[in-house]
Amino acid sequence: MKVRTLILRVPGTNCDQETVEAFEEAGSHVDLKHINSLIRDSTRLDDYHIFCIPGGFSYGDDLGAGKILACQLKYRLRRPIERFISEGKIILGICNGFQALVKAGLLPGLNGAFNRQEATLALNEGGLFVDRWVYVRCEETRCKPLNSLAKTIFYMPVNHAEGRFIAPPSILDVLEDDGYIVFRYVDPYGSISREWNPNGSMNNIAGICNMDGNIVGLMPHPEKHIHQYTHPSWTRLDRMSNVNCLRLFKALVDYAYTHLA
């Protein structure tokens, strides 16, 4: 059976097409659905193995990035999402999707899904929207679907104004000690460096997962680099030796194929 991925669209979503493309290239069947069709129950989350919330400015990011979408998830789609998670299925949030998952209390969700918000994504240290390519290292964590990629350094852009990950020290310690931090901003050689942190995130955190490792979110955009010709310096590279982010989507789809489909 083919892996089925649902990509969510809400007013203001704007990275949906390239996210569809990334999952399709990774071998999944993909449906792109408006949130209203989930709320009205004409689309059933149960029919899918992967649920992805792509980037954009959901509902204009009025009230803060991803806040209204977080409320929609929490108050309109709570039951289907809880069922989806409990079956071990995968949720991926990219950029605005990550912001919504954090604000809905799904990430990191140390006290259970939808319990309370434990971290946030604040305005960038620079105070402005930033479009910049960054190196992102995948860590060895409780996120099993991505463990095959541990230590891989990916190259992808960040495009956000509110991407600075912050959490209280008690939470941050748990995230560090118990393997919740899936992605970190690093320098080209894989070392953690302040200079290569685009937004001032604590501990260079670019993305995290939940306790069961089946919900994962990140600020940078892997779907923007699934073939080499979107690399900002591809005209200078040896054309064959370019690691792109398609592997990330493949890892999720392969895991879903082995464990869920």
């Binding site: 990275c15 408006h34 209203n36 069709s37 980037g55 400015f57 204009g60 402005l128 929207f129 923007k224």
Partner: protein, 786 residues
């Protein structure tokens, strides 16, 4: 009782007519008021305020382009319409089969491959930006997106070209009512950022310039490229089709924007015309886009028979244009409002943002309404197209406007204007050559016009949609200045769309040569990355055309556009003019912008994998300069940096220029070119420095090898801004093949790239100029390190 006023024009004297034009802010001339008077005399009644305003919007310079369509008397004879005689004429004569829709709709449309087509539009939003930089620039962007959506295309690129006063302009010299350029720039950039980023349209092409002429009148050119399946293009509303108003609600923002844009600004503009600036909400427009794309694609045919943007002139213009040749009836009380209390004429004229008008056959209305409902986007039937050839508007069942469409669109008396032009005297000044040319180069690199705009570019999202193959910033550190951007719009094809600009107000003292130069610049930027089969858009921002010299300069520029388009084989597909960019001071004196012509070039590249960027790639590669360097330093950054006046504005050798461009494309296609950068502002020296620090490599060149005419001074060779020139890094071992392509054309090897970080230039008499490339980069990046 309908809240509608009757305005007695039938018995008005000339003076009273002009009073009426002033009181209702119609911006109409006496001739035009008299034409209106004659019409209402003939039908035996006086107009309502709705009717009078409808006519004023339709006849405004902004909507009708009466100067460009008018009769112009020059010393060389009478020009019957600048558009017909030059701009359209070039496109007609070039007759390209891939030009699908040219100057007929909201955007120009050209073929791409198979059924796919590209829609392009560039607009200006100068007046609103002067009053409200954030709102004005943002809604300019939103408006041009809607122009592209209005032909049924999905926006894939946002273009922005901005001009402001000098950022260090002294506050005490600012005329009353004028904001400081720094504030205008911050606001405009933020407005474009928030609209483009939220709509999810990458902003990746443009320019920012500074000149004292823009202190009172900043310029904002906003452009958009979209993609569409051309078989889904439809613009034939039929009698009986329903008129659907979709998107945002209607409020009092944006009243009389087009008539406001057709006059000069004054210190009172903010008080009188603040309501002319619209209030934008990009998410509303994103919902509208999503709903329209579904209405276009979900069934075997689009659910609408025609669609248009509700922009300048509001409903009066959108419905009026669509009703041309058929007729329409509208009930204004059905229009959803932001708040209560709008007069009928306000509803009819409001330019509230994020609205589109669709003509929908009755059998499709349920499907359309379902789609809009699912997308949380409001859509309302407000009337119906008819076959009466009349524009009939009701409010609560009472007629408030009943106009003959023939009169509305053809009743405007043609303007007759006089134009004078005297070519300026040009002479290259004599002055001793400065000692430290590298220090001057450093200063030029930090000139705000040349310096890195990274601070701005990084605030714009240029990655969204993941189609950007050549980005605005390229090179080893991803921050070198790209000549053009390339998009790969289709998932299943390697074809690319190449977009570039040309603009240079420093040449405005010689508008004919300026036009040649900016067409050349836009084309060579396009060619430098591998673009060909280029279509052009012309956007004029000019002063008051009622003044003979100002209009004369405009005529010269238009002539240059025609000659250049013909020579480069590049048709115009769309364009727009914004006149009256002037500021009237209380003492009666005025300040005008320099005549500013923006040319946007849209080319294609059959395989984006062949694209070339401007950063030097490897040490030891030969460096060529293609094109002749002449003593053309009028308006140059060299002269302005060292404070020298005069000089000869660069011209274009139209015959050779086209051959050079073709040669570059051929060399790129054959894989001989490792990097290519055009020489423009700052000439050869700036181009070399940029390619060096963008590639992290040094270069060593000999000025004696540069092919040049009438030039025997190091400084002038280095800084001349002659057109049609490229710096090309050629693949080692391909020198002969490369030179063969340019047989008979100026093409000379001037040196090679080096592995160090030194820029080394050997002067004519053996003097060596030398500097570290990182020193140049630092200077280039320091200006906008905000």
């Amino acid at each position: 009782m309908a809240r509608v006023g009757i305005i007695p024009v039938r018995d008005a004297t000339d003076r009273e007519l002009m009073d009426i034009s002033g009181r209702y802010m119609l911006s109409l001339s006496l001739d035009e008021m008299k034409a209106i008077q004659a019409y209402f005399r003939s039908i035996g009644r006086d107009p309502t305020d709705v009717e009078l305003n409808t006519i004023a919007q339709t006849w405004s310079e902004h909507c009708y382009h009466k100067t460009f369509k008018g009769i112009i008397e020059t010393e060389d004879g009478v020009i019957d319409s600048l558009l017909e005689s030059y701009i359209f004429k070039a496109s007609r004569e070039l007759a390209k089969p891939w030009c699908l829709v040219v100057f007929e709709d909201n955007a120009g449309i050209i073929g791409l491959e198979r059924d796919w087509a590209i829609a392009v539009k560039v607009e200006t939003h100068n007046h609103p930006t002067a009053l409200d930089p954030y709102g004005g620039a943002g809604t300019g962007t939103g408006g041009v997106f809607r122009d592209v959506i209005g032909v049924g295309a999905r926006p894939i690129l946002s273009i922005d070209v901005l001009f402001f006063g000098p950022l260090d302009y002294p506050y005490e010299l600012l005329p009353q009512g004028v904001m400081h350029p720094r504030r205008v720039m911050r606001g405009a950039v933020a407005g474009i950022r928030d609209y483009g980023n939220k709509m999810g349209v990458p902003t990746a092409c443009g320019a920012i310039g500074f000149d004292e002429g823009y202190v009172c009148n900043p310029l904002v050119y906003a452009g958009c490229v979209g993609i569409m399946p051309f078989s889904r293009y439809t613009r034939k509303p039929k009698p009986g089709d329903l008129i659907v108003l979709a998107g945002g609600r209607t409020g009092r923002d944006g009243l009389r924007g087009v008539t406001f844009a057709s006059t000069e600004l004054t210190p009172d503009s903010e008080r009188v015309s603040a309501v002319s600036v619209q209030i934008g909400n990009p998410i509303e427009e994103k919902k509208l886009l999503d709903a329209i794309m579904r209405s276009r694609d979900e069934y075997s045919e689009p659910l609408y028979s025609a669609i248009t943007d509700c922009g300048g002139g509001g409903l009066s213009s959108a419905v009026g244009e669509m009703a041309r040749g058929i007729g329409a009836e509208v009930e204004l009380s059905l229009v959803p409002l932001k708040y209560r209390g709008l007069e009928p004429w306000e509803i009819w004229l409001s330019e509230s943002q994020e609205r589109m008008v669709l003509a929908v056959p009755e059998e499709n209305i349920d499907r359309l309404m379902r789609i809009f409902g699912e997308e949380d986007c409001e859509a309302t039937v407000i009337g119906r197209f008819t076959s009466t050839r009349r524009l009939k508007v009701y409010y609560d069942g009472e007629v408030v406007c009943d106009l003959d469409l023939e009169f509305l669109f053809k009743g405007i008396p043609r303007v007759r204007r006089k134009a004078y032009w005297k070519p300026p005297h040009e002479e290259d000044p004599d002055f001793p050559m400065p000692e430290d040319l590298m220090d001057i180069l450093k200063h030029m690199l930090s000139d705000p016009n040349i310096a890195s705009k990274e601070w701005v570019i990084r605030q714009y999202d240029h990655e969204v949609q993941a189609r950007m193959v050549v980005k605005p910033m390229v090179g080893i550190h991803g921050d070198g200045p790209s000549d053009a951007c390339i998009l790969k719009p289709l998932r299943d094809s390697w074809i690319g769309v190449v977009v570039s600009c040309g603009v240079n107000p420093k040449y405005s003292s010689h508008p004919y040569k300026m036009a040649l130069s900016v067409v050349d610049e836009s084309v060579r930027n396009n060619v430098a990355v591998g673009g060909r089969r280029i279509a052009l858009l012309d956007n004029f921002s000019w002063g008051n055309p009622e003044r003979g010299e100002t209009l004369g300069a405009l005529v010269e520029a238009v002539k240059g556009c025609y000659d250049a388009a013909k020579a480069f084989d590049t048709p115009f597909i769309s364009g727009k003019d914004s006149l009256y960019n002037e500021y009237r001071l209380p003492d009666g004196s005025y300040r005008s912008i320099p005549g500013t012509l923006l040319i946007t070039a849209v080319g294609i590249i059959p395989d984006v994998r062949r694209a070339v960027t401007m950063d030097f790639k490897e040490p030891g590669n030969p460096i060529y300069i293609v094109g002749n360097t002449r003593c053309e330093l009028g308006g140059s950054y060299y002269y302005s940096t060292i404070g020298v006046r005069g000089g000869i504005i660069p011209s274009v050798d139209l015959k050779n220029a086209k051959l050079i461009m073709d040669g570059i494309v051929e060399a790129i296609d054959l894989g001989y070119v490792k990097s290519c950068h055009d020489c423009s502002e700052g000439g050869l020296a700036v181009a070399l420095a940029e390619s060096c620090f963008s590639g992290g490599l040094g270069v060593e060149v000999w000025l004696s090898e540069v092919s040049r005419l009438d030039l025997a001074r190091d400084d002038k060779i280095l800084f001349s801004e002659s057109n049609s020139r490229f710096i090309v890094e050629v693949r080692r071992g391909r020198e002969d093949d490369f030179e063969k392509i340019f047989y008979g054309l100026p093409c000379r090897k001037i040196g090679y790239t080096t592995s160090g970080s030194r820029l080394v230039i050997h002067g004519l008499d053996g003097k060596i100029y030398e500097e570290d490339i990182w020193v140049f980069k630092k200077a280039w990046k320091s200006t906008f390190n905000w």
